[in-house]
Amino acid sequence: MTTTILKIVTRNLLFYLTFGLLLLIISTFVIWPILKVVSFAQLENFSELFTNSRWSQAAIHSLMMTMISTLSCTFVAFIFAYTIARLEIPCKGLFKFITILPIVSPPFIVGMSYILLFGRQGIISKQLLNLNVDVYGWHGLWLVQTITFFPYAYAVIYGVLKKSSPSQEYAAYNMGSTHWQVFKNIVLPLSKPGIAGGALIAAMSILADFGNPMVIGGNSTVLSTEAYMQMIGWFDLSSAAILSTTLLIPALGLFLLNRQWVGKQSYTTVTGKESYSSHYPIPSYIKWTLFSFCMFITVIVLLVYGVLFYGAFTTTWGYNWSLTFSNLDYVFSKGKELTNSIQFAVLSSILAGVLAFPLAFIVQRKKMGMNRFLDFLSVLPGAVPGVFLGLGFAIAFNAEPLMLTGTAMIMVIALTIWNVPTFYSTLLAGLQQISSSLEEASQNLGANNLKTFRHILLPLLKGPFISGMVVTFLRSVTCLSVIVFIYSAKTSVGTVSILGLVSNGEWGKASSFTVVLISIAFAVLGISQLFFRNKRNANDY
């Protein structure tokens, strides 16, 4: 018995070593920082949440904002998804483009534009209407969060709507249902998993968001910004830990809900028999109402980006509207921040891939019995709000044996860990699509594991690998929350500079910097798209 166990272990030595190493990395850079923050917050100090009115306000704001923005995000997302997936309308390409825009942009961009449009020096509020209103606060944040995060919910809902076959709807029409009945009894129930999943993704993002509340929250702080204030303003680590932990609890709750409930519900009826190519036509007044709604949102999003570009070339927003390149000059004088942004993003996208691949491979291919646990660990960093993760890194790696404070390494590692869940999920989905019989066929023809990996798996996973790296790069370049606690003078990045410029009211420079970051993001996205298209043409699989 022991000899067989020994035999199994030696034969899979490489595998067990990898497995152990992965566990070590995850424990050190995920579990350890989380525990550090949670244990830093003394239990008795939590009572302050209720006694300190600023804190209880922040907690209530966080929860309320998450609730109302999630509702509005999901609403907008569903209409977008339904319109794009089901209706024959023009401008589909434009609508689709609108839904990816916020994903490749820094998270606070909508907030910034909002101020440029409606703020004290806003182009609409001051120039056009000559008003002097206080736009900071929860109304503005609600609008901004809706515009920022509806694309996240849209992606999930669209996926489900697109997959569901129209044959059930035809069946319902065939039995005499009206359009409204079909929608209420068939379409809506069948898209429930998508709606729930999309809403949860949006809720998680809104709850954890730091950039927008920081920019336009004004006096009504939320948990993430309040934690930041405590840490940066008063160097009060304990308070920051309490606030972040308070933020972690609902975030983990949403995460678990998403995993346990939505993950298991799937009504996608993939029959393999696609007999109906098109959907049953919808009355044109409904169609055009939905179209107008999407167009309205699209115009807002375009306005957000337009005003930002305008701001980037404006001398002094609100006072001197003459065009200038001086803002751009300023950005390039801060070349260090820009190169840092790019360097860290490139490194973390490579490292995240290196880490995510063995995780995805073991979970998908090796039936070990520990798969669910490993899967959980792999997506866990996605459940942790960025601010919390950053704080965790700041506390955990500020002492021996891992003294990393102020180094570039801590920035890269934090961004890597933060991106592992997305990269992992992309690779996992890619692996699931590769039938294991392909690997068997390769072995059967004489290729050992290494050769099979090189000749079969790697080429087939090229797509997921590239898209994982691009997404990680984009998320890293535009990331603010994770690094706001761990950057130093030497390792500061673009987003941090923008935050500083925004709080000083230097809108021109801030917009300019943002425009440069977005341009970099788009350039990378464009190159990868081009690369993909060429690959597709070469061999379509």
């Binding site: 066929a441 072995q443 059967n444 023809l445 000749h455 087939l460 061999n539 699989y541």
Partner: protein
């Protein structure tokens, strides 16, 4: 063909998945150059055994020998047992040529030789001009040919096939199986073929091994399997059959007289080890019974049964009748149906006694 020479020997092999016993103590000798089919319902262990031979699983117990060498722990990539997969498993990122050449390249075969051998495969399978296509750009039948070419190009003594025809349409399936048999005879490799389709198994094989619940119920020639099944399971799985329960009442060499309800059926003695009073099951195929409208049969006419037609179904070349006789229902195929329509009412069945087969009841 030297049937004495054993190429693969399987000895008391067992394999479990969790609590599920997939292979239950199987032993089997596979003669060199033969076409052997593993036949059985899904989940019977036939594919598992094939995969054990290919080295995708390791046995829990027992041994596998390949040309007298024990290969239990030999990794799949060292076994030289090319396999044609059910879903073909063509590499989607490689074109037809690269797919077929994959194994040869791994063996570091010289470029010129690869070119020649792949070319001859392309020619043989009618794939000339498709070298640069990707699997997605091929029809199902073409993909399947590439899968065969990829395995055969290795030029090994053995070819494993896991339901390779099941994704083809019915007509093509018959075509390809005949080609496959011709190919096997031409090259003389040992073929191990997994299928759940009895027609396929009967038409293509030298030997059939019928699987059930992780065990092999019977190994034999297609004729033996069809006409002399050893168990009710085999008889039932391979073709339609009438089972008649009875009791041996007289041993009257060369016949065994079996009393079934109120009829006495005469069974030719073919080494059946039966004694008086043994409980037996008779296996009678629907096409081994003739049906006639005559009702008054002579008392001494052997193996005649009177009955009533319950229903009938016209299938083109046959009419299938369901005939009630006492407590029993017979299925009878009439291969030369009369143009005037199916028979009705009272009829007489006559059993072709040479094809009546006897199975001894297993002692529980």
């Amino acid at each position: 063909m030297n049937t004495e020479e054993i190429i693969i020997k399987i000895e008391n092999l067992s394999k479990t998945f969790g609590n599920y016993l997939a292979i239950d103590n199987i032993s089997l000798d596979i003669p060199k150059g033969s076409f052997l089919t593993f036949l059985g319902p899904s989940g019977c262990g036939k594919t598992t055994l094939l995969r054990l031979i290919a080295g995708f699983y390791e046995p829990d117990d027992g041994n596998i020998y390949f040309e007298e060498k024990k290969i239990n722990e030999l990794p799949a990539y060292k076994r030289d047992t090319p396999l044609v997969f059910q879903e073909y498993a063509l590499f989607p990122h490689l074109n037809v040529f690269e797919n077929i050449a994959y194994g040869l390249k791994l063996k570091k075969t010289p470029k010129k030789e690869i070119q020649d051998r792949v070319d001859s495969m392309l020619k043989m399978f009618g794939l000339i001009g498709m070298e640069n296509r990707y699997p997605k750009e091929l029809s199902g039948g073409q993909q399947q040919r590439v899968a065969f070419a990829r395995a055969l190009v290795m030029g090994k003594n053995v070819l494993l096939m896991d339901e390779p025809l099941s994704n083809l349409d019915a007509k093509m399936r018959v075509e390809v199986r005949d080609e496959l048999r011709a190919l096997q005879k031409r090259f003389g490799f040992t073929a191990i073929f997994v299928t759940h389709d009895q027609d396929e198994a009967l038409s293509i094989s030298d030997q059939i091994a019928v699987f059930n619940k992780g065990q092999i119920c019977q190994v034999g020639t297609p004729m033996d399997i069809y006409f002399k099944p050893k168990t009710k399971f085999v008889a039932d799985f391979v073709g339609t059959t009438n089972f008649v329960e009875g009791k041996v009442i007289e041993l009257n060499d060369p016949f065994i007289m079996v009393k079934c309800n109120d009829t006495i059926i005469r069974v030719p003695q073919k080494d059946y080890a039966v004694k008086m009073c043994d409980e037996v099951t008779l296996v009678i195929r629907p096409e081994c019974i003739s049906i006639s409208a005559e009702v008054d049969i002579q008392r001494n006419r052997s193996n005649g049964v009177k009955g009533n037609i319950v229903k009938s179904s016209f299938l083109g070349r046959t009419i299938r009748y369901w005939v009630g006789a006492g407590s029993m229902q017979w299925i009878v195929d009439d291969f030369n149906p009369k143009i005037s329509g199916p028979l009705e009412g009272q009829i007489t069945l006559t059993l072709d006694q040479s094809k009546v087969h006897l199975i001894k009841k297993r002692l529980k």
